[in-house]
Amino acid sequence: MKKNSTMVYHSIYLEKKRLEIRMLKSVGHNFYTLFLSLFDQLVLGNCVLLVNLRRMRLEKCWFCSSTVYPGHGIQFVRNDAKIFRFCRSKCHKNFKMKRNPRKVKWTKAYRRLHGKDMTQDSTFEFERKRNRPERYDRNLAENTLKAIKKIDKIRSDRASDHIKNRLKTSKVQRQKEARKQLELGIHLVKAPLALAQDSSLCLPKIKVNVSQAQTEENQPMED
């Protein structure tokens, strides 16, 4: 991850402003809003600026925190002007049942709250909601697309590491339990006679005599 020192990058640095990055994810309507802090150590490549062609945004579902793509989901506006976006009817129905997402096991809110998923990471800094549209620049758009890919990969790697670390302790416990089960149930796999002879907790060793290898000369076939 080299810090690229293009003119644009420098000029942005000099401006000392927070930038919003929206860009085309692929052919189509999808836009991705990024935030690059100038003081962030994890800046990748060029800073990218892009103006939004249309008012399209990838929102977050209020209940499960997954992304709501344009054309999906329902938006509920409460009378106090708070907007709730839902990715699908499952989340919407749960909301109508007045369930608290922090108590519903499969939501991101629950997982983050209970430490199941990664909560704090610098890769999250790139993805923040900003309301300032930026001027379009093709190079920057291209670079941001590449950056998105990279950031995504890094973030998912770190998240899976977090989960792996969390599950490490259970492996030791599982092995302990397996050992205990073997002790108790050894009579199921090893005959008691064999156990008397060899009281270790392994299966009895069966000796098989391997025949002598055939000589190289061709053996005449039997008539």
Partner: protein
């Protein structure tokens, strides 16, 4: 028809009952204009009980599709009273209004609104 809507401006009326939807075979939706009869009104307001008025539906509990494919719905059914030309009778609008009104040319209501959803 017969839907009782809340009036969210300061025209004096509190509740109106829809007696006709001006457009739409299946009834008025979010952003449409209706003809309504005032069922409940404040004692000293511009509009009195029993008067027949025009109104613009600014909040509907039934979801309405947006051009980007998503759907919006509100918490209640609310209306802003307007005159025949579409200008609001009241001077204030309470609660959120949808930006579908812009397409329907109800710009005045949008400017009075406190929040545009």
């Amino acid at each position: 028809m017969r839907t009782v809507l809340k009036v969210v401006d300061n025209s004096g009326a509190k509740k109106v009952m829809c007696i006709q939807a001006l457009k739409g075979k299946k009834g008025a939706r979010l952003g449409d204009t209706i003809i309504a009869s005032v069922k409940e009104a404040m004692p000293n307001g511009k509009v009195k009980k029993g008067k027949v008025v025009y109104g613009v539906v600014v909040r509907a509990a039934m979801q309405r599709g947006r051009c980007d494919g998503s759907e919006v719905k509100f918490d209640d059914n609310a209306v802003v009273l307007v005159d025949k030309q579409g200008q609001p009778i009241g001077t204030r609008v309470f609660g959120p209004v949808p930006h579908e009104l812009r397409q329907k040319k109800h710009v005045k209501i949008l400017t009075l609104a406190e929040h545009i959803a």
